[in-house]
Symmetry: D3
Subunit: 151 residues, 6 copies
């Protein structure tokens, strides 16, 4: 049972020790989608055309959520993120949130990238909930994860 | 464009005024699923049998996230939640997080229920990320939402 | 010395008891200005024309700060804000942040309105600091404050 | 439009990548003033003479706000502050908050110093709002900013 | 096993539903002591005589902690505290922190009073840790707890 | 009076500068006990046997509190914890919380270890408060503290 991150041999949870690892440049990309009705998509596009705030609010919420990841996920280490990017794009059947997070640290930033995508999509849900009663958040997943030695 | 919650006629974002609404008992239920590999599911079941912490950590994280919703979603009102319940259940292809949140207030608790489900699933992702490289979070959706007058 | 809010006869600080006051509709308006160089103002206008994010990010930061006021100001009561509005307007010599906050409660929301204005202006400072070395935040002040009995 | 910190060529907001910069000792000093009525100034001096808490509460609030800067300003990086100092001084027409913040990091601490000054002054506003109806916060500005290579 | 607050018949944790209870005036008092060496006590008294900040910093930290209780204790409800008071008193063998918290709500404020006392004492520990290697926090306990119907 | 951590010659509080210290591996261990009635201890043991959540919830709360220490203790530096471990053990007269925290940094993690123990015990208090009216938290103390040079 010791194969889980954060779970010891007795099955108990703890924040694992990453102190022995060398600091490296860590990067992770994630994405997810919120499925929306056609009328909602039309309204978001109209808002976007008129310089409206819908997609920006979601992107800002995602960036801020990346910084709060260790406060939300009990066994996550707190990290000093050097970059966080969240892009919300309207597609045929909804909005896709794509995120990219970097840090220099001893553990990866995949949870930060996934949390940013989740919260960006929840924020779109919040803004559209008066017009769309059939929203669903789908496919929150890690796209890529790299570590590079410091020069 | 004024149909969106939180978005005014010019397309700009603001927290809407809910002050004129009477306080009511509000309840919302949401759920979502994390898709896992068979070996991961086996490990979670084994952890559960041995009184391990995996599902409990996710449930606690979900409850705490419900209380932080207005801090995560920029235009959400802060509410005094009177009940929050998060249940994680192992199924054939993953784990389902089911949530139920109640408050007495002037606006609903659907975002709290959805945020609790999202963060519970992200917490399972965090604990399983060393053993499963193909996880995906799917189907975060509102199941039910009610409002009842105060007696 | 007992005239100060939050300060007792011995000069010591405490959160005062507002429990005996009836809940009322409380509203407060505040504003403040950040003085900017002409070139910075030109860049913000250009960003605004191109549907850029500068003013929106500041407005969102202000709204979120209103909700965090009791966490920032040690002796402030936490309140359930029913509305928060932050509007950033480009003027001849800078950007004005105008805020309006409402709650139903036993104490006023002036600190929430002032905090929202301060943080919106600090956010503009943050985004402009690479192009403008002479910024100054001025005139953070309460414009109006009302209380109305609940019907 | 790419000249703004945090704003890309399309005018969209993101946390910029500071990961390529070498860590340096960063220091910033800021200040601001709250204008007060003579009677309020007299009361603060009296409180100070009697070992009262007014100025100390504001100083503590400023120090804590410095640590929360990245939570308040959406595109700020979180930093590990190595020193934070806030000094509130009674002057002829009000109280001046002077701040000094240091870190070892890849980006400066000017926003931390400015946020500390703003929140210290807001805290004085909060404590004096029962006795002074004409307060105004003025001149929040950066005084100095240095970076020094690590030895 | 259903006798525990927050624990259901299966032994699982959840935030219990307090929504059916009428709001009442709730008050709780708690205290605790940090045991200190004589030299440390002498230094604190000297600091206090010279209008130093040691006891004030601890009191402010306690008040702020009361407001954060539901963020710290996973199954605590968030409450709108109407009063929080923390008093630190030097005694023969250390410092006593006495707290009093009030709210109008559906559940009591004993955890808020106990958390305020704990954090005030931890703050004294933090400030004295360079001079005293034998500190111990003792006797954190609830002194009194009342509920009164609203008029 | 300059002997206190965080207190300067005038007795005023500030976050001290740790920037000149070399980063080292820092570790601290702390513990504390909550005294419980025999019936409460029996119920906790029963809950533990049935894979109940009581001890796990307290352990998770302790781990999360370790990460929030600098937000709770005004003059604490924020640190990047590399490991946090909280173990709650039922003993004859109550429950002992034992904590271990590590970081690589310029200042120690004793406050993090002590805060984790305090919050774990407060969480047990919260869950047992319906069944036990005589709880007391005792003996929160540092067990061990080390610093080791980085290799």
């Amino acid at each position: 049972m010791g194969k889980f991150s954060h779970i010891d041999k007795e099955g108990k949870a703890n924040m694992v020790d990453v102190g022995h690892k060398p600091p490296q440049v860590r990067e992770a990309k994630a994405s997810g989608k919120i499925l929306l009705e056609q009328e909602t998509i039309r309204l978001i596009k109209e808002n976007d055309l008129k310089k409206g705030d819908v997609l920006t609010v979601a992107e800002i919420a995602g960036i801020q959520a990346a910084k709060k990841t260790s406060d939300l996920i009990p066994l996550c280490h707190s990290l000093q993120i050097t970059k966080a990017e969240v892009k919300c794009t309207v597609v045929d059947d909804g909005v896709i949130a794509s995120t990219r997070v970097k840090c220099i640290g001893q553990t990866g930033v995949e949870m930060e990238a996934l949390t940013a995508a989740s919260v960006a999509l929840l924020t779109i849900y919040d803004m559209c909930k008066a017009v769309d009663k059939n929203m669903k958040i789908e496919g929150i997943t890690l796209l890529d994860k790299t570590k590079t030695d410091l020069k």
